[in-house]
Amino acid sequence: MGTSENIIELKHITRTYEDGFSAVEDFNLEVKRGEFVTFLGPSGCGKTTTLRMIAGFDIPTSGEILLNGKPITNLPPNKRPINTVFQRYALFPHMNIFENIAFGLKQKKTPKDVIEKKVKKVLALVDLEGFENRSVSTLSGGQQQRIAIARALVNEPEILLLDEPLGALDLKMRKEMQIELKAMHDELGITFIYVTHDQEEALTMSDKIVVMSEGKMQQIGTPEDIYNEPKNAFVADFIGESNIFNGIMTGKLKARFCGGEFECVDDIEQGTHITAVVRPEDVELTPPGQGIISGVVDSVIFKGMHYEITVVSGKNEMVIQSVKSAAPGERVGMKVDPQNIHIMIAEDHTNIFSADINQDFHLEYNGHILDTSVTKIIKGSRRTEDGTLLDAHGEVIDPKKTKIMVSIQPSDIHMTDNMEEGIVQGYISNLIYKGDHYSYVIHTDLEQDFIVNDEYLWNMDDQVGLLMPVDKMKFALKR
């Protein structure tokens, strides 16, 4: 795995906008020559921004992009041997098909006869022979997409970038184009970097998938790796359907979650808090009492290839895909093969934020007074008669230079519709169902993310106020 194999390298790429929003944060990637790499993530995860930085339409705030080992970070797009297929095709409407495809070659002052030959060849490649004199507006969406691909490929780029190229096509067309794109990649040997939010598309086509969320790389690996061994709850939730549970290791290769003790193959120390992922197709229904856990069928939906059965077991909910149907209200048992349980060490979700000490020596956050005593937080501190605050060594504490770190657990925070009531306000930027509760990410107006656990379903983008009981907070002095 020498560096020479890498056609493009992204080193510590960060793109921050003037308003302080980071679209991409410390992004590192190496792509080998001839690979088909896909950036996968929900909208706003930074995948398109990353692609635009590779194309040269956007310049990273910091970090470096290397092409064949040479820096191209600030090179304008017209000087890069990289071509892009745009989401909405971006064909030139006032030019015919021939002129569209020939545009790139003309910029390079290619002789006329060579241009004609190359255009013909590339039109044959995308199965649109004889379309030279057609105008763009007479083409269907699928045909326009093929022309856009031909227009990029005719320049024989070292890397072809594709920004959700199939997003505007209907399902059947999309499936066809997926296969054709993959065939083109195998035939031409050009490096493809593909952006999509469609996990199925990514799994079908890629050699390597980069899963992104909120500007950060969550996981990189082959489609099999990503599907079978998701690194965290986000990846598990985003790739395919998943049952995700919080749990704990109860012994060697034994984990307790969803109200039962399961055998598993991940060797994690006993007592560790874990997140367990079980794919719906991996859950086996058994007669009641014969499974590891049991529950009552809540709903059954016919999906063509299988039934989607939701079973309620205690406080938890399990979604199962099965070729056999079940009746709502029926009592069933469930078991899972140890191979099919994926266990991840739970990330610590403690929320930490910093609060100020105001002039009256009260703790303040977002304009709200936290009803606690500063002298209790700072060990050994006391107030003198003239009002100054002294620490244990008798030295004056300057409230302006002192910050208190406050930590609170996700389950201790509550959400409220009454925004003013909350200590801080924000919107729900993410939610994952974890068997018996939802785990929410609240992006506050102070640009901080809070994790909140709540058993009730709130909607994405809901504006909420956060209630945080002071007695559930832990405080630490930060100098």
């Binding site: 304008p76 797009p77 990289i82 971006a90 409407p93 320049n155």
Partner: protein, 266 residues
């Protein structure tokens, strides 16, 4: 019954709009010296109009000024719109707002303040035509900006990036890709600029050289004066201008209809 009332109302409105011009047109074909007394059919007004060097020079000068000022205004307005569009959001907003002010501002204020700045403060002579041309460019450029901007907004923003991506320099991408896309806006902006310049009276009175007249300033002066032959020749001029406008509007509407039906066919 209601239908008749509707029709009558419409007829009345149209009558009010067209009757004055119609009266003028009728009188232009007579040898009357005053509106009110028709004496007989005559083309002498048209003969005077097309044979008096003073009148022909004035008309030619006005058209030349309109075309020149419109050309400069189109250049500036288009560049401004493209520049504003590709600027940061805040900058675009500031430029667009500032562009609105001259549009809404009274022409008399524009003309007068320009005269003060150029002639009084900077000492530019009116005889150089510079204040007049600058005045008309200022008058027209904001309208060009307004007619080009929507076309830029309608344009798929990624086609400019696509051109760069395919190896075009920003200049080539602008000339070969962006300009053809917004050409309809540029053309209608130019046409608007020509009309505005032809129409203008206030800016011209404050900035024109003493020896030069545009149609507007000439007509105002002539109607005050006592030269009857010239005055009645202006009736003919008004009629000719009205006919040209009528033909232009008819042609433009026909073309628009044709384009519209073509689009439906496609």
């Amino acid at each position: 019954m209601r239908k008749y009332i509707k029709g009558m109302f419409l007829g009345l409105v149209l009558l009010f709009l067209y009757l004055p011009i119609f009266i003028l047109a009728v009188y232009s074909f007579t040898d009357a010296t005053n509106i009110g007394a028709i004496r007989g059919f005559s083309l002498h007004n048209y003969v005077t109009l097309f044979t008096t060097p003073e009148l022909l020079g004035m008309i030619g000068g006005t058209i030349l000024l309109a075309l020149g000022a419109a050309f400069l205004a189109t250049l500036l307005g288009t560049m401004g719109a493209i520049g504003a569009f590709y600027s940061k959001k805040k900058t675009t907003k500031v430029i667009s707002t500032m562009n609105q002010v001259p549009v809404v501002n009274a022409d008399v204020v524009t003309g007068f303040s320009l005269c003060i700045l150029l002639v009084v403060v900077l000492g530019v002579s009116k005889d150089t035509f510079v204040p007049l041309v600058v005045g008309h460019v200022i008058l027209c450029a904001p309208f060009v900006y307004l007619s080009v901007m929507p076309k830029i907004r309608q344009m798929d923003p990624s086609i400019y990036e696509a051109a760069l991506d395919l190896g075009a320099t920003p200049f080539v991408a602008l000339i070969q890709i962006v300009i053809p896309q917004i050409l309809p806006g540029i053309i209608s902006g130019f046409a608007l600029a020509v009309t505005l310049s032809l129409d203008d009276y206030f800016v011209a009175t404050y900035t024109k050289p003493a020896t030069f007249d545009t149609i507007s300033t000439y007509v105002v002066n002539a109607t005050k004066g006592a030269q009857t032959t010239i005055k009645t020749a202006l009736w003919a001029l008004s009629t000719v201008i009205f006919l040209i406008v009528l033909v232009l509007v008819a042609v433009m509407n026909l073309r628009a209809n044709k384009n519209g039906s073509e689009r439906v066919d496609a």
